[in-house]
Every structure is written in C-alpha cells, then in structure tokens.
Amino acid sequence: MADAVVSKKFDWQLFRRRSFASPMDTVITVIVFSGLAWLVWQALNWGILNAVWSADDVEQCGHGGACWSVIDARHRLILFGLYPYEEHWRSTLACLSIIATVVISCFPWTWTTKRLSTIWIAGFAIYYLLMEGSLLGLPQVTTDQWGGLALTLFLFSSVVLIGMPMGLGLALMRRSEMPVVRGFASLVIDLIRSLPLLTTLFTAAVVIPILLPSWLEGDKIWRVIIAFGLFFACYQAEVLRGGFQAIPKGQFEAGKALGLTYWQILGRIVLPQVFRHALPATVNNVVVTFKETAIVIIIGFFDILASANAAFGTGAWAPYYIEVLAFVAAIYWIFLFGLGQYGEYLKRRMNVAER
C-alpha cells in the first residue's frame, strides 16, 4: 500500500500542459531545456565521444576529449593508496564489506538494535581483519599504509560505529533529570556543533598529544576517528532529541505504572519509536558524515582525495587533473546521491505511514 503512494508515476500530459502553459512558459521551457541539452551534449562529447579510454602512452590523449587512460593507469593508487600492490585484493574485499554493510542496513528488515549493531560490527570487523591481516595469518599491513577509497570508507564506518552509541548517550544525558549531567551534555553538544569540524579534528591531531601523557597518546588515526565520532555524536544527539520529542509523555508514565525500570521503558517502548522517527534525519547525518570525511586530507591523511591529487601530481599525467578529480567526484556523487534518494524515500514512506 505504502509503495503505491510513494512511487508517483510520471504524468506526461501534465508535463506538457505545464511546459507550454503561457507564452512566457514556452520561452522558458525552450531556453532552459536547450541549455540543459547543450550541457549534456558537451559532457557526452568530452566524456565519451571524444575520450581516449586506454592509451599506452600519454601522447595519444588531449584531442578535445577526456583522457580516461589516466584512470586506467592510476586507479589502484586512487582506490587503495599506498597499500602493498599484491595485497590489493584484500583492500577490495574490505571495501566491499563496508559497502555491503551500508546497503544491507538500508532494508527495513534489519531495523532492530540487535540486527543493526551485529551487521555493523561484523562488517567493520571483516574490514579490519582483512586490511590489517595479521590475525588471519596474512602479511600485516599497518594503518599508515592504508589509503585511497579504502581509508575513506574506514574513517566513515568507524565514525558511524563509534558515534552512534555516543550520540545516544549524549541524547539521554541531555534529557536527564540531573542538572549537572544535563548541563554537561548540553555544553559538549553546543560547543562541538558551533566549531568547524576541521577545528575538532585538528585539535585531536595536534593538541591532544600535548594534553595527554605520552603512553596514552595512541595513533593519530584513532585520535582523529574518536574526535570525528564525537562530532557525529553531537549532531546525532540533536537528531535523536527530535525523535524523543515526538514521543508522548504518557508512554513513559504508562511504562512506570506497569512497574518497568527506566532502562526497560527506554529499550522496549521509547527507543524503538525514537529511532523510527529519527530515521530520515539519521540517514541525512550519515550522508553528511560520508561527505565530510574528505576533509581529513587537510590534517594529513591519504584519503581518496589525497590519492587523487597524488595520481595527477607527477610527471606525465599532470595535464589530466580534471579526469582524476571527476572520477573521484563521481564516486562520491554515486554514494551520496544513492543515500540521499534513499533518505527522501524514507521521509515519504513515513509521511504515508502517519496519514
């Protein structure tokens, strides 16, 4: 039933009527659509018709079209960074496990706390075991050799995995009856939210080593992930707060009247509804987090953007920077557009359910 309402069929009649409703509309329609068609034609011309797909050397490129040979030659660097060449299959499988985790958690069947956390922990564990390798008896590859898309996906999944429980904790603290706990959570959330992400990450990378005794410092990558996780958690806490506000107070009271404890009320009655209400906003937050991982290039990580820069940074391929950046942009775009459309779908689905 819900699907029937959600998927609207394209109405060709209405489209034509509205396109030419008045002389003004006709002019606008013609101009705008020919402009768009021109753009698409230019892109096709450059990207496909005149493009060189696999040139053996650079000389064959550069005749008014894209030179996709640069991707052919450098895709391993862009996708896997400095990861040892003969171990790239591990990196590929690891990436696939994260992508599968994200895709699987999009199906409504998985939306229980137990299933979702199992899937994410399993997906992340598979990723880590494959990438690091020593526990599986494979040659060990330390985190400083991880790079490219693999590193971006690693940052993304660990941030979500760490940030989600932290966000829930902060949201609960902010709703607490105890003024000190409430104030503490509000302070942390508002502070982190009004600072740029870059400041938070930079602090984790550069300032925390000064504030910690040397034995507690840990790897830079973990410090940055925890800081990024905290950033995610602060936004997620606000998302969940919206979800909490949608639950009538009577439900807590009903739970209390039944003699349930605080945690029982929370776990069995309130939280499932909160998560359901907060789902579209949560997806949105996850999308934004994936997008923002690109920023780690500034604090010196070899993520997909950094490896793209390296791919055209040297010698022969230097003139083909547009192709490499377009390739990386396309990867981000596909992920983000897909997740974004999914979020829109969830929103509509929920509006239908509420009617």
Binding site: S194, P196, L198, V207, P209, P213, S214, A294
Partner: protein, 377 residues
Amino acid sequence: MDASALKARANRRKLIIQSALIVFSALIIISAIRSAQVNLNALGLASGFGFLERSTGWSYSFSLIERDINDSYARTLTIGFLNTVFLGLLTIVLSTIFGFLIGTFRDARNPALKTAATVYIQTFRNIPLILQGIFWYAIVIHLPGPRQAMSLGDAIFLSNRGLMIPLLNVSLTVALVMVLVLIVAAFFMARMKVSVIKIVLAMIGLCFFMVLIATGLTVPAGEGAISWPELKGLRFVGGLTISPELLVMIIAITLYGSAYIAEVVRGGLVEVPKGLIEAGEALGLTQRVIWARIKMPMALRTIIPPLGNQWIFIMKATTIGVAIGFSDLFYIVSTSITQSGQTLELIAILMGAFLLVNFTIAQFINWLNESLKLKAH
C-alpha cells in the same frame, strides 16, 4: 520500603552520579594541565599570550588591510579573522540570493525550471565541498596567463592570476561608509513599509548620487572615477584583482551553500497551506503576486531557523580554504602553530573566534525569527 525511603534513595543516587561526573571531569582537566606542563617544558616552550607581540616573519596570500612581513602575531591573526568574516559574509549573502532563486525554481510550475534547479541541487550537494574547491582551484590555476587572459568587453579579465574587475576609484573607508549609508537607508525605508521596487529604485539613485559626490571629493586630479584593469607588461594594473584563492572559495562555497539553502527554501514553500494559495487564486491574483504576498511571507517563518543553520555552516565551511591556500583564520592559526609552537593558545583563539561569530549569527537569526513571528500565535 515506603515511598519516602525510595525517594531518598533515588535522590542519593542522583547526587552520587552527578558528583562522580564533576570529579571525573575535574580529574581529566587537572591531569591534562599537568601533562601539558610536562610536555611543554620538554619542548622548552613558554605558555601564555606573550608571543602575540612578536613579529611573524612569514607571508600569506590574501589580506583586506595593509600587511607586512614584520606584522605581529596579533595583527596577523586579526587579518585572518577579518578574512574569515569577510569570506563568510560574502558567501552567505551570495548563497542566500542564489538559494532563494533556485529554491523558487524548484517549486515552480514550469517543469523546465524545476528540472534545471533539481540538476543544480543534486550536482553541487552531492560532492564534498573541499573536492569542489580543489577542482575549481585546479581549473583556475591552469587558465591562460595575463597576456592571453579571457576578457569580457575589455573591462573584466579572467586569468590564472585571478579575476580583474573595474573598481570605483575611492578609498576603502569611503566605500565602507557608502555601503553603510545604503544599508541604513534601506532599513529605514523597509520600516516605513515602502514597496520593494521603490526601495530598489531609491537605492540605485542614492548609489549614483554618492558615487558622484565621493568621486568629486576624493579622487585625485587626473584620474578617472573608475579604475579599469589594464595589461601592463606581464601583469594587470588598476581595477580590483580578486586572487585565485578568494575567487575559488567564493565560487565553491556559493555553489555548495546555495544548493543547500535552495532545499531549505523549497521545504518552506512546500509547507505553505494549499488553501492560502487557492484563496489567492480565487481573488484573481497573479502567480507573481501570490508568490510575493502569500507564499514567501508564509514560508519565511519555516525557512528562517534552518536558514540560520546554513549560515553558520557556511561560516564554518570557510576553514577549508586552507586546502587551497586562502589565508582565513584557520590557515593563519595552523601556520602560526608550526612557526611558533604556541599550540594551546592559538587553538583557544581559533575556537573563541568561531564561537563568537557563530553566536552572533545565532542571535541575529533569533531576532529575525522573533520579528517575523505571527503576533497572535
């Protein structure tokens, strides 16, 4: 156990939890200070803000006011702060204008406008801002040099040195005063409920008038009222040069920010009750009047709060300028940290500055929200 005993136990537990939190945070802070002292001593660094008086001895790409390689850290940081605020405000204004335009298109009845707006939003929203910045920067620095610069009517030039545009031949102070007068005049006219078209006409007239006066009084003899960019040798002289870094930051943030604001605007327009629009149609109002008198005023109330979030987001997004070498506050602070080693103090300044700016924006949005609220509600 009776009710009062249970209550007492609950209160005791709350007290214990809260004191534990306080003690725990205090312990963390104290031990952080302790180890900071140990670590800083090991590096041989003095803490405190004394370094602000020292001169920096390094240079950077962009500044609104006079600068020198011997500037003190205090002055350099101030310049960075001004750059951040300048870029932030400029891109906030530009993205808000574009965002309202595209959001309206997205909500238009004409499918062509709708499609174009959707393509725009989906393209620029789904690519990380920093990637867009690096992309445009790569394009701009690969443009032809000043000698082969692209030109528009020999007045505007685009080359790998940036964008050159004609400039009014007045000093910065005079220009600021003029902008201020315009803003104040517009504000008072809006208060007196003058229609938008009349305000715009009056602004244009006022602008013209002020330019006449200002050029008459302050332009040195023998120079024109407008300074045109001209190619002399290997570079451009005269006019205003917008450096590649600033140009790219403006383009990238405006495209990205306006895509987000467009979604906010569309969200607001969708929320307007259908009955109001139908009432307008029943009265025989045109689509334009319905939009200006019914839809937008109603939608603004839902638009303003999320719009404020976008403004704060844009202000924070200026920090990615560091990736292409635009000297915003973050860039200045991180360079200062590598040069002087005063990490803690500089990070504190950075955070304080952003808290101040974002708090100000939040206050402004609150004020706007309050003054737009329907009075009876």
